[in-house]
Amino acid sequence: MLNSTNKTAYGKVEKLKVNLQPVLWLLPLAFLGVCYFYPLGAILRYSLAEGEHTASALAALSDPYVLRTLWFTIWQAALSTLLTLLVGLPGAYLIGRYRFRGKALLRALTAIPFIMPTVVVAAGFNALLGARGWINLGLMRALQLETPPLLIVNTLWAILLAHVFYNTTIVIRLVGDFWARLDPRMTQAARNLGATPWRTFTHITAPLLSPAVLTAAMLVFIFNFTSFGVILILGGPRFATLEVAIYRQTLNFFNLPLAALLSLLQLFCTLGLTIAYMRLAARVSRPLNACSPQTTQRRLTTLRTRLAAGVIIIVLLALLVAPLGALAARSTFKLEADRGERGIVTTGFTLNYYRELFTNRRQSLFFVTPIETIGVSLRNALLTVVLSLGLGLPTAGMLARRTRLGRWLDPILMLPLGTSAVTLGFGFIIAFNRPPLNLRASPLLLPLAHTLVAFPFVIRSLLPAWTSIRPQLRQAAAVLGSSPSRVWREIDLPLIGRAAIVAAAFAFTISLGEFGATALLSRPEFPTVPVAIFRYLSQPGALNYGQALALSTLLMIFCGGGMLAIESLRFGTVGEI
């Protein structure tokens, strides 16, 4: 029975591929059409409707200030990306090539920064590095200084540091995962043939690794390019990226024509960058024998590797975890000095702020317990994972075939990432508030918005793994009589299983941390955790500040736990191959 169906299926395999392709494309294109192009078109049409205003906005666009902003946007993004790679690549190497105790925890910890709201991160940086932060106080005491020696906050350094803090996890996850599957025999062969370690790296490892590094670099660059909260809050009002300018023109000056033009400028920059990336990526990516991490990963045995690993871990912890730790610590310290005491650092352990989170002191209608708000966030995040993987898996599969259609569509799939969040948020508000799509009060609105941001990440996480599958493997399976679904189940799925988990982790964290669109679209009765944190921070008083820190700490714990759970997912051989 099975055999006979397989035999007939074999004849149809090729035909099916040809016929199915445009149909399969319909799914992601319909999603982008409805959730991206439709709202974006709506807001652009609205903004640029009046020719007169558009003309004066065009004139404003040639203002030297716009050029300066564009230039700053580009170079700060490039510099931030370089620094992020500098920190992330050693981490990716360690996590990709070695097995050691606490690795899963390290991976989860380095992922947490990705989701933290900027206001909270700023508080963490200040607690640590601010003029009256712990490091400065320590240095002042140790060196007997009158003034704080490290003034980083509100400088370019704060922006760069924060970008590294936020995005290193992208490099670690994408490159680390790819590195784990590189066949070690190639480098071993090179070494056996007498190549120096450096030459082996530059001639073998680096070229093989370059698709994943390029992908990570592009995603990090686009994130930095459209950076917004970090620039405003940690850089201070002196710095402005295009996204900041768009935000100001939209929300503060309500100059929609200029905002729309700036959005388009940003969009074209992203598009150009993505096309350049695709060209480069096509040149460097090649099918590989993917190996199981069990065969590629070694233990830290020699003293040298242990020392190196120790240094890498310390750098990662210092950069990515210390600011979070400072926050968590503060949430359990009494923030108020006792009467008469005016020390800068107050002491005294307390769980008051955590207890207070569960009390609705003022019988407020919009009060939610942390459990409820985490529930809201979790529901959004899970829906985002399901939606973005459901769309991303078939899409990445089709892109991996490198058809002409796929090459055309690929850069377009990346556009949501480079689109101004403010512009798109307002597009949502215009487009989804009226028939035929009245979604304003729908619980699906937020997951859809989050999926839009997560979708490019999901595709880029899946694609390197997918293109590295040798087509011969699939053909061999088909020739041997496997049905297409069986080829998918037994060849494709195990090979991309690990990448799918990475993709799921991205979708999960993106949804948990998203604030820009969420602040515009969420309902007051159902705030996500970042929105709830922001609510506490918008009123004075020690209890509010303490509760914001406490809820942030809960968010970190919850995210770390979620990451550990996702990482430990194993579908049979999936993720292990």
Binding site: Y46, V119, A122, A123, N126, G130, A131, R132, N154, L232, I233, G236, P237, R238, Y247, R248, T250, L251, N252, F253, F254, N255, K334, L335, E336, R339, R342, I344, T350, R362, Q363, S364, L365, F366, F426, I429, I430, N433, R434, R440, A441, A519, L520, S522, R523, P524, E525, V531, F534, R535, L537, S538, Q539, P540, G541, A542, L543, N544, Y545, G546
Partner: protein
């Protein structure tokens, strides 16, 4: 559209009566949608009272800050998001009025409201609450350094106050804009920039938003920053008492209420055009002006009621000080020149 809806209702009504059910169908509660900013808060029981009185459900849509709120309402003018909009303040008033998004309504309770709050003669907006944006100071710092409080805006440029003040960027922060307007009101549109030049020379710190200014930079808050003077609200000192871990006898911070140093923000409610629940919307506006709602506001939103019949909570009476003479700027001027003022300010202070 309207006719179609009517049509549907008729058909539905026919169907329902045609079914011939003997028991009368209870009228399903109507829904009143109120769009507001994300600082809006209200007690459960207060809303429950309105819902019971009018057998209606009140649904709230929170839409970013006050500026975002008004922009959203304007963007969706032809298909309104809600029946009522609450949270338009006097710095955004003319933008909303010029966009023609509101229907006039003269609440009978307006008679109780002092004239200083009624800014629209056509009554398209109704004042609900107000708050003064004032300098807050860290009491302990001023006591420790034996420093007198500034008695005017000019004082802030004196050497004894150098490097003590943190303000918000008026381009993005509503208290930041209010303080900029206070300086425009006091020095006039031609003199305010000179004042800011001097302030800059005297080491004023500019940050992006109120959260950063208050919690990160201000020394009187729990964030324990380095600056003992901050642009905040007259209601911040009572909030410091209410949200303290142990109730202190005295607030750790105070407001500077010298003449022309504060700016009064007034918040308005209005009925959005083309609402299908006009009667409920009117009832909601009356309700917002009634003592039930007005008494609830201070503790929920840290604003002051416009209705003099409302009773302030003890914490407000003890720890809040209102400005006797806030600086004023005409709402029309604010709309006409806000962009220009902010732009010039940005050029002077940040570039």
């Amino acid at each position: 559209m309207k006719r179609n809806a009517l049509h549907t209702y008729c058909v539905l009504a026919l169907l329902l009566t045609g079914c011939g059910s003997a028991t009368p169908i209870p009228a399903s509660p109507r829904t009143l949608t109120v769009m507001t900013h994300d600082s809006f808060a209200v007690s459960e029981e207060v809303v429950a009272e309105f819902q019971a009185q009018h057998s209606a459900i009140v649904q709230f849509l929170a839409a970013g800050d006050a500026g975002t709120l008004v922009n959203q309402a304007i963007l969706n003018k032809d298909v309104p998001l809600a029946d009522v909009i609450f949270g338009i303040d006097n710095t955004l008033l003319t933008r909303a009025l010029e966009a023609d998004i509101l229907e006039a309504y003269a609440s009978p309770l307006l008679a109780e409201i002092p004239a200083q709050f009624k800014l629209d003669e056509e009554q398209r907006v109704t004042p609900v609450d107000f708050g003064d944006v004032c300098l807050n100071y860290d009491k302990a710092y001023f006591a420790e350094h034996n420093l007198a409080l500034p008695e005017s805006l000019e004082d802030l440029t004196a050497p004894e106050y150098s490097n003590l003040l943190v303000v918000e960027n008026p381009a993005s922060s509503s208290p930041g804009l209010a303080f900029l307007l206070a300086t425009v009101g006091h020095f006039g549109p031609h003199g305010y920039l000179d004042f800011w030049v001097e302030l800059r020379a005297n080491g004023v710190k500019v940050v992006e938003d109120w959260e950063t200014a208050y919690f990160t930079e201000f020394s009187g808050s729990s964030g324990k920053g380095p600056y003992p003077l901050v642009v905040s609200y007259a209601s911040s000192p009572p909030a410091e008492v209410i949200f303290a871990e142990e109730q202190p006898e005295e607030a750790p911070t105070g407001s500077v209420i010298a003449p022309d140093t504060c700016f009064r923000q007034i918040e308005f409610v209005g009925i959005l055009r083309a609402t299908e629940n006009r009667d409920l919307a009117e009832a909601w506006i009356d309700f917002m002006l009634s003592p039930t709602f007005q008494n609830d506001m201070p503790m929920q939103m840290f604003v002051f009621p416009v209705n003099p019949r409302a009773e302030l909570p003890t914490e407000f009476i003890q720890h809040a000080q209102l400005a006797a003479q806030p600086a004023t700027v005409e709402p029309d001027d604010i709309t006409a020149y806000r962009e220009e003022w902010i732009e010039s300010w940005t050029n002077t202070m940040l570039r």
